[in-house]
């Protein structure tokens, strides 16, 4: 890449904007910012940023709405910022097309890691789909239906394989319960979280070194799961 990636920050709190601008610039990002949803959407269209960091509570409109409006014409990665206790909004934004979320207050390392993952994914999806997924110690060969961990073959049922493949293909990003249920089981708008809990439990037993202390398949409380391929 010849230029540093451009980040659009949409947040109405000046302290947060000031801090993030300083930190992100120091980390070799170009930064532009908007303090309202409307301004944010306009800037997103005018500047075509590489990634958007969006606060859910904005003075003029709902962050979820901003997210869905941008998604109508752009696939730019969007990371949601919000406070604890707004799981519903987070899930709504994620199901509306946001790529990831962070809960305020957050560590800057975490934000930088999420931004990098999101940019990497948006570049990867523009290429062709691979039939072999590498995610941390896990390698999945989709055409041959083989999963290995550190070269050792894992004995997975069809559902477990499908679940693991979905998680690994989107590694380091959160996947909502609903997204997983829809993708793996084909449930539209279902509440069968029990399916997910049971299968994630089984999968952890087979995939994790210590299923009691999972390092690969991480729970995002109230939101969904995340497959971790890199150490943040």
């Amino acid at each position: 890449m010849d230029k540093d990636p451009l980040i659009l920050l949409i947040d109405d709190e000046p302290q947060i904007l000031r801090a993030l601008k300083t930190i992100l610039s120091a980390n070799h990002f170009r930064v532009s910012s908007a303090v309202t949803g409307e301004e944010g959407i306009a800037l997103a269209a005018a500047q075509l940023p590489d990634i958007i960091v969006l606060d859910l509570t904005l003075p003029d409109m709902d962050g979820v709405q901003v997210c869905s409006q941008i998604r109508e014409w752009s696939a730019v990665p969007i990371i949601i910022l919000s406070v604890r206790d707004s799981e519903k909004d987070k899930v709504a934004a994620l199901d509306m097309g946001a790529d990831d979320y962070l809960t305020k207050p957050f560590g800057i390392e975490e934000l930088l890691a999420r931004i990098r993952v999101a940019i990497r994914h948006s570049q990867a999806t523009s290429g062709k789909k691979e039939s072999v997924i590498h995610a941390g110690p896990i390698v999945l060969d989709l055409s041959k239906h083989i999963a290995t961990r550190d070269g050792e073959e894992l004995k997975l049922t069809a559902t477990e394989f499908k679940l693991l493949a979905y998680l690994a293909a989107h590694s380091d990003r959160v996947l909502t319960h609903q997204a997983i249920l829809t993708h793996v089981w084909g449930f539209e708008e279902s509440d069968h979280l029990e399916y997910l809990r049971v299968y994630i439990g089984q999968l952890r037993k087979k995939v994790e070194e210590n299923p009691e202390d999972p390092k690969l398949i991480i729970t995002d409380p109230g939101i969904g799961y995340r497959f971790k391929s890199i150490d943040q």
Binding site: R84, T157, T159, L193, E194, Y195, R197, G201, T219, P221
Partner: protein
């Protein structure tokens, strides 16, 4: 109305008939009786008429008895003339006695009737008052009043409107239930207290007039209804004041507690940052890291505090609604422990959770908060290097989860209180915290339909909480394998 005419006719013909019968009887037996005996016997129809039909019938009976006596049995017969002065005295005395008697009996009878009427009124009033005393809301007052009016009065339809200060402007009770007649009510009665008009009673009744008794009773009903409304308004006001006072007291103690809790981390952060900025001292790498760690930890502490305050206010306002979904308790417990890593580093954490525990309907985030608060409490009070055990078991239709530690015993009578807001067993300056943690746990567990309590153990202390295993009466569905692969 027809009843009254019948009554008048009867009280006229009745005495007439009685006197006629008496005269006939005396005619047959006249040979056996003297004039004085006859006068006495003529008093019988007077008495009977007075008792049955009242004063006027009695007087009327007296008059016709007097005439009949004179006509048939005083010489010269079949005239109203009297020749002997002796007979005149008998007649005069008879008339006087008859009048006196009928008056006495009539009055007694009237008094008895009145007493009966009053008794009826009093019973109705008592019934009304005792049903009104049980009412706790304005709509139930209007319903009760309408129902009582409907059952005690002869009427087509009754409506009781009670004015309300806010929307809806009016509360209406009706009897019998259903549509009111399509015309204006014949009788309306305002319900007034000394301060205000509280409402109105509207009665549909074809004749449009009430008896004196009914009038009086209606008046009393209206008054009692108004008083009941006033009573409820006053008690509602009082409750509101009580709640306000309580919440004011709570806010003051939150402010006291929180300002201290907010200042200590802020002080540490401010001190660290200003030292780093000052440039007066060239900081070594290690010291720098130490200050930065302090800042980060204290920030987390502040965040935890704000989270607790938020939870508390949601519990207080009753807006805490757990989003119940099937969750795994071990997963939640471990994720809480992971978040608490720093605080728990001095203790040995031991999870004794069986692998086959069922999924439990719960709110992941809230339940994680419960574990965080219980673990944080254990870490604060239990000595370092001791064991904190989290274990779980099933009992009937609930799961029992225990967090055991080796902290000192809590007095038995304090065990209940530790879940109260701002309650702390030890002195406030010895241990950090707002005293909110356990009361938040209680709020969250109760919102899940469970129970939480604490017990002293032989070698420590334990928190126990229960959660129901069924969600809307169901266990979790057994998941299906996907077919396609």
């Amino acid at each position: 109305m027809r009843k009254n005419i019948l009554k008048i006719i009867l009280s006229f013909f009745g005495p007439l008939l009685f006197v006629a019968l008496t005269s006939l009887l005396l005619e047959w037996t006249s040979s056996l009786l003297n004039v004085q005996n006859m006068a006495l016997i003529y008093l019988i129809p007077v008495m009977v008429s007075s008792v049955i039909w009242g004063l006027f019938a009695g007087l009327f009976a007296g008059l016709i008895s007097f005439l009949a006596f004179n006509f048939f049995f005083i010489q010269p017969y079949n005239t109203l003339l009297v020749h002997q002065s002796q007979d005149l005295i008998t007649l005069a005395v008879f008339l006087a006695v008859a009048v006196l008697l009928s008056q006495l009996i009539g009055q007694t009878r009237k008094a008895a009737l009145l007493a009966k009427e009053r008794e009826w009124e009093a019973t109705r009033m008592y019934e009304l008052i005792s049903s009104l005393a049980g009412t706790t809301s304005i709509p139930s007052i209007s319903e009760t009043l309408a129902e009582k009016l409907g059952s005690n009065f002869e009427l087509e339809h009754v409506e009781v409107d009670i004015n309300a200060p806010s929307f809806p402007k009016k509360v209406t009770g009706t009897h019998p239930p259903g549509e009111k007649p399509d015309r204006l009510p014949e009788i309306t009665k305002p319900m007034k207290t000394q301060r205000d008009q509280e409402g109105e009673i509207r009665i549909w009744q074809a004749t449009g007039n009430l008896s004196n008794t009914e009038e009086r009773l209606l008046e009393a009903f209206a008054e009692q209804g108004a008083l009941a409304v006033e009573r409820i308004r006053l008690s509602q006001g009082e409750t509101k004041i009580h709640v306000l006072e309580e919440s004011d007291r709570l806010k003051t103690s939150i402010l006291n507690s929180v300002s201290h809790e907010l200042r200590s981390p802020l002080a540490a952060i401010k001190a660290s940052i200003s030292s780093l900025r000052s440039g007066a001292v060239p900081w070594e790498h290690a010291a720098r890291q130490e200050l930065l760690t302090t800042i980060e930890e204290e920030t987390d502490q502040l965040n935890l505090l704000v989270g607790n305050l938020l939870d508390m206010s949601r519990i207080e306002s009753g807006s805490l609604e757990p989003h119940l979904r099937w969750n795994s308790i071990p997963e939640i417990a471990k994720s809480a422990a992971a978040r608490m890593k720093g605080q728990l580093s001095g203790h040995i954490l031991d999870f004794q959770l069986p692998g086959d525990l069922p999924l439990v309907p719960s709110d992941y985030v809230l339940l994680e908060q419960v574990f965080i608060n219980l673990l944080s409490n254990s870490a604060k009070y239990a000595p370092e290097k001791t064991r904190i055990v989290v274990c779980a078991g099933l009992e009937k239709e609930s799961i029992h989860i225990r967090v055991k530690n080796q902290s000192p015993h809590v007095a038995e009578d304090e065990l209940q209180n530790i879940f109260e807001k701002f309650h702390r067993v030890t002195r406030a300056d010895k241990v950090i915290g707002t005293g909110l943690g356990l009361s938040i746990c209680k709020g969250i567990i109760e919102a899940h339909g469970g129970r939480i309590w604490a017990e002293n153990l032989e070698d420590g202390f334990q928190f126990i909480f229960t959660l129901p295993l069924l969600l809307n009466g169901n266990l979790p569905e057994t998941p299906k394998e996907v077919i396609d692969g």
